[in-house]
Every structure is written in structure tokens, then in C-alpha cells.
């Protein structure tokens, strides 16, 4: 909490001295990380609030994409720092995309099977195992 207050105060001080405008004109890797954080939060909100199971799947794709963005950012950071195997983050991203594709295929197959049996795609109607 103290750190948060301090960083907020520092941000305000920066904006007073015009450093914020500098950050707006020259975005650095931190801005990409903030975009990733926003995408992840929106995805989590979608998973927790929506009833339609297909939209929940799409929110999961958003979360995975935020993770991909973070991996690419850190890969770029390592490239700038001159690391030997700096594209490892991009390789990891390829595997995340593969797993996301497999997950979407299996999950949508389950959705179709569920819709045939229960005639609903709303997650709060699927409560057969709920006691």
C-alpha cells in the first residue's frame, strides 16, 4: 500500500515535470506490459461475469493473448540486453498458441456435446453435479 501511494505520487510528480508527456511520445516496454495487464483483467472479468460458455472461452483466449504479449515484451527486452537465446519468449509463444488451438477445439466439442444433451449454453444451468 505504501509502495502504491509512493508510485502514484511519483507518477504525479513526473506529470508535473512533463515526463509523462515524454512517456506518451516515446512509449517504452512498460506501456506494452500495461496493455497486457488490461487484456488479462478484461479476460478474467469476462470469465467471472458472463453466462454464455462460448464467450467464457473467448475470454480465456484474451487471457492467453495477454500472456503472449508479455512473453514477446520480455523477449524484446532480452534482445536489447544482448542475451544469447533472446527469442526463447517467442518460441514459448508458439507453444501457447498451439495449446490454445487444441483447447479451443476440445472445448468447443464439449460445448456441442453439451448442447445436444442439455439444450443450454448457460453455465449456471449446467448444474447436474451440484448438490
Amino acid at each position: 500500500m505504501h509502495n502504491l501511494l509512493a508510485s502514484t505520487f511519483l507518477l504525479w510528480q513526473e506529470s508535473v515535470t512533463g515526463r509523462m508527456w515524454q512517456g506518451f511520445q516515446h512509449p517504452d516496454l512498460t506501456k506494452f506490459l500495461i496493455i497486457g495487464a488490461v487484456l488479462l483483467t478484461v479476460g478474467v472479468a469476462g470469465v467471472l461475469t458472463r453466462r454464455n460458455i462460448i464467450i467464457i472461452f473467448m475470454s480465456i483466449e484474451l487471457i492467453l493473448n495477454a500472456a503472449n504479449l508479455n512473453f514477446i515484451v520480455f523477449s524484446r527486452y532480452l534482445q536489447d540486453a544482448g542475451n544469447a537465446n533472446a527469442v526463447a519468449g517467442q518460441v514459448f509463444t508458439v507453444f501457447i498458441i498451439v495449446v490454445a488451438a487444441a483447447e479451443a477445439a476440445i472445448g468447443l466439442g464439449i460445448v456441442i456435446a453439451l448442447y445436444r444433451n442439455r439444450e443450454t449454453i448457460f453455465v449456471d444451468k449446467i448444474d447436474l453435479l451440484k448438490w
Binding site: L4, D28, R50, I54, Q79, V94, R116
Partner: protein, 229 residues
């Protein structure tokens, strides 16, 4: 890496379009609209990948996500959502209000935590000078732009232009360090194909596939057991 000039302009354009389309994905009432907004988010994130110098991943993102996964999503929405629309659209979009409130509170906490973590580590990203002894403020915008784009690029075969070597490096790294995970990923995709075919077929298709017990098949081919859609 610090962007400048047109790169920073495109960064803000694609960042805002990604965030706004992500919000609309979660809030859209129609699932088809939701899928289309998700496509626009994915394309914007692919553009951010290009700005970060990961052209190969951007291409894979557009081809696999937008061309493959999202088409699958749209097919399933078409198969499943028609019935719910016809039954009268008075259905609630969201969970109960208390649940939604608690979830949003959790999301706000999550976001504040993530932002403070980014703030704590931001000094590392900002303090890194691109060349020793010369900071970004001392360079003119054009110089910085040219230097950033020249970085990590090699001359093409004809020598008239420069091309990115990102794909080459990703491929080399994939086969040098990630051979076993690559094979495991291929087996995973095979299992996913077989599993989704098994999960999604109808009872009639199962009966036709000749892998049912004879009594079950007799029961299915009886009077109205095929009433399952």
C-alpha cells in the same frame, strides 16, 4: 526499446483498439459480435507484436487465431446459438448482480496489483540506454527511428532492401532448444483432433461408425431413438 515517431503513434492506435475491442468482446450481447470484436483484438495485438519486432509470431497469430480458431468459434456459435435466440432473447447476459460485483472487485484488485508490479519494475525498462553513453533524449527522433529499424535486420538477397531475420532466429531456436516440446505439441494437436471428432459426433454418426455394441445399435435404429438432434 523506446518507440518514437510514427511507431509511437501506431502503438497508441493499436493499444487503444485492442483494449476497447477486448472490453466490447466481454460486454457484447450477441455472441457473433463478441467473436468479431475478439478478432479485432487479436489483429491489434498482432500489430503490437510487429512493433516489438516479432513478425513471425504476428503472422502465426493472424493465421492460427483469426484464420483457424475464430472460424471454429463462429461455426460453433452458428450451431448452438440459433436455438437460444429463437427461444426468446429474454435471457440474462451476466451472472447474478452480487456475483458480478464481487468479480469486478476482484478484477480491480488484480489490476491494481499488476500495475503496481509493473511500476516497481519500470525502472529497469527505462534506465536501459540504447547505446552506451547516449540516451534517447540526446538522439533526434529520426536517428532513433532509423537505428531501431536497422537493428536486427539483414540485407535481402538482392541487396536492395533489408529484411527482418526474426523468423530465421525463431526457427533456429525452436529446433535447437525446443525439439522435444515441438514433438509433444504435435501429439497434443493429434489428440485434440481425434478428441473433438469423438466429442462432437451425433448418436446417428456413432451408430454408422460401426463401433457400437449390436444391442445398442438395434436400440438406436429402432422407432424414435434417433430423435436426438
Amino acid at each position: 526499446m523506446i518507440l518514437s515517431g510514427w511507431e509511437s503513434f501506431f502503438f497508441w492506435v493499436f493499444a487503444f483498439s485492442a483494449v476497447i475491442a477486448a472490453l466490447l468482446t466481454v460486454m457484447a450481447s450477441n455472441a457473433v459480435h463478441s467473436a468479431l470484436f475478439l478478432i479485432s483484438t487479436l489483429v491489434s495485438v498482432a500489430a503490437l507484436f510487429v512493433l516489438l519486432g516479432a513478425e513471425f509470431i504476428a503472422g502465426v497469430q493472424v493465421l492460427v487465431y483469426v484464420g483457424g480458431v475464430m472460424v471454429l468459434f463462429l461455426f460453433v456459435i452458428m450451431l448452438v446459438n440459433v436455438g437460444t435466440e429463437e427461444r426468446g432473447g429474454g435471457e440474462e447476459l451476466y451472472n447474478r448482480p452480487a456475483q458480478v460485483g464481487a468479480s469486478l472487485f476482484f478484477c480491480v484488485l488484480l489490476f491494481v496489483g499488476l500495475i503496481s508490479a509493473v511500476n516497481l519494475s519500470s525502472a529497469h525498462f527505462r534506465a536501459q540506454p540504447t547505446t552506451p553513453g547516449q540516451s534517447i533524449e540526446q538522439m533526434s527522433a529520426e536517428q532513433a527511428l532509423v537505428r531501431e529499424t536497422e537493428q536486427g535486420m539483414v540485407a535481402s538477397a538482392t541487396g536492395t532492401s533489408k529484411i527482418s531475420s526474426d523468423t530465421e532466429r525463431v526457427g533456429a531456436s525452436l529446433y535447437r532448444y525446443g525439439g522435444l516440446p515441438f514433438e509433444i505439441a504435435s501429439v497434443l494437436l493429434l489428440v485434440a483432433i481425434v478428441g473433438s471428432v469423438l466429442l462432437a459426433r451425433t448418436a446417428k454418426q456413432e451408430a454408422a461408425a460401426d463401433d457400437l455394441a449390436p444391442e445398442t445399435r438395434a436400440e438406436l435404429s429402432g422407432d424414435e431413438a434417433l430423435g436426438i438432434k
